[in-house]
């Protein structure tokens, strides 16, 4: 996809991000990510935050919406909440399988406030790069995101 990365190790990227330098935007720009959460404030915050780093951020509130977007667009990273409604409770895992099938190279991060060793094990089995437990400060989430995308562009 022609991503460019001017930083060195993942640590460099994270340090740049924390310092808010111009370099960090060159490092992180041009990626496309999908954020999936049923809470509008979280979607808003994620979109605002990552957009400032040059990311193109799509947001989805529902599993089916996210699945439709994944079919249409190629994402570098999907950041999904485990629980999108009160009814089923683990739609995030369904989405992971769909993403894996449609776009094997896409990085996936799972966010959950209802984590358990079983869920985490299943998520890892499905190829999730990282399982993060809510609440998680946005800069910490960003560190993981930048680390993953930077790592891939080096590979």
């Amino acid at each position: 996809m022609g991503h460019k990365r001017s930083g060195g190790s993942d640590g460099t990227v994270i340090a740049g991000m924390a310092a808010g330098t111009i370099v960090e935007k060159q490092v992180t720009g041009s990626y496309r990510m999908l954020v999936v959460d049923d809470e509008e404030p979280i979607l808003f915050a994620m979109r605002e935050y990552f957009s400032t780093y040059g990311y193109r951020v799509d947001c989805a509130r529902e599993l089916e919406e996210a699945e439709a977007l994944v079919l249409k667009h190629r994402y570098d990273l999907v950041l999904a909440d485990l629980r999108l409604t009160d009814i089923y409770g683990a739609e995030g895992l369904s989405l992971i399988g769909h993403v894996r099938e449609c776009s094997p190279r896409t990085h996936i991060i799972l966010l959950t406030a209802y984590g358990s060793p079983e869920v985490e094990h299943e998520a890892r089995r499905l190829g999730v790069a990282s399982v993060l437990h809510k609440p998680k400060p946005l800069p910490e989430v960003a560190q993981i995101v930048f680390g993953l995308l930077g790592a891939r562009s080096d590979s």
Binding site: C59, E62, E64, E65, E67, A68, L69, K72, H73
Partner: protein, 266 residues
């Protein structure tokens, strides 16, 4: 209060809009407007503005019949101001025809309310899901044809638009997907597919519509195979009704310049 679901927002009045893309008859040197395909758009500024995302979402919610009714209603209300000559093509899921037993009646009623003869209508069958109610589907096709509605099979060569569907639906039109059309002039394998579909259509007494024609080279490749109904940006983008009316497209002779108002889906 429970927040509105995304699905609910799609079915609010005015959420769905329709644009029209010409299908041009290139049989003669003078190209003429043959039909207008009604294409749906979701709410502006949302993920659903993209029709592919919108329809995939609706399919996953198993609400094809509901969205088809909204789309057909919106399209025919907008088409009421059209002159009487171009055919009007509306997209309907095969599963809708199979499951919604009143759909054909609904279609006829909406057409009548808007002064549109059902003989001007073409139902373009789209389907992305495996088996639906087969007998119900076939009955609906009979009911459509009793009202003079013609049937087109959309996306021929992809998904469920396969030989079985061609046999079952016996469509008057086969719409060959842009995947097979674009680049055909420099790809003998695509040319072979076009030729095969054209031959198949002739055996069925059907006509082929080539979708996604964007340049003269592909137009030449398509017409060389006897495919004369052409849809694509070479002639016009999909236009909202006001732009369509002022574009000149509705005149007897098709303008020689492309009309590009609405950007292609992302």
């Amino acid at each position: 209060m429970k927040p509105r679901s995304l699905l609910d927002t799609l079915f609010e009045p005015g959420a769905i809009s329709v644009v029209f893309q010409p299908i041009v008859d290139c049989r003669r040197a003078t190209r003429r407007l043959y039909a207008l395909e009604c294409l749906v758009r979701g709410p502006a500024g949302t993920n659903m503005e993209d029709p592919e995302v919108l329809l995939e979402y609706v399919r996953r919610k198993r609400e094809e019949a509901r969205i088809d009714r909204v789309c057909v209603g919106t399209a025919l209300r907008a088409a009421a101001v059209l002159p009487p000559h171009p055919r009007i093509c509306v997209n309907v899921h095969a599963s809708t025809l199979g499951r919604d037993r009143d759909f054909v009646t609904f279609l006829a009623e909406v057409a009548a309310e808007n002064g549109i003869a059902t003989t001007r209508l073409t139902v373009e069958i789209v389907e992305h899901a495996p088996p639906w109610d087969g007998p119900g589907f076939l009955n609906a096709l009979v009911a459509l044809r009793e009202r003079g509605v013609r049937v087109a099979l959309d996306d021929v060569g992809l998904g469920q638009s396969n030989y079985k569907m061609i046999l079952d639906a016996c469509p008057e039109y086969l719409k060959i997907d842009r995947y097979f059309v674009q680049g055909a002039h420099r790809d003998p394998r695509r040319e072979a597919v076009l030729e095969s579909v054209a031959q198949l259509a002739r055996r069925f007494g059907a006509r082929v519509v080539a979708e996604g024609v964007e340049d003269e080279a592909d137009l030449a490749a398509v017409t060389a195979r006897g495919i004369e109904l052409i849809q694509g940006f070479l002639f016009s983008a999909a236009l909202p009704m006001d732009r369509l009316l002022e574009s000149g497209i509705l005149d007897a002779t098709f303008p020689s310049f492309p009309i590009r108002e609405v950007a292609p889906p992302r």
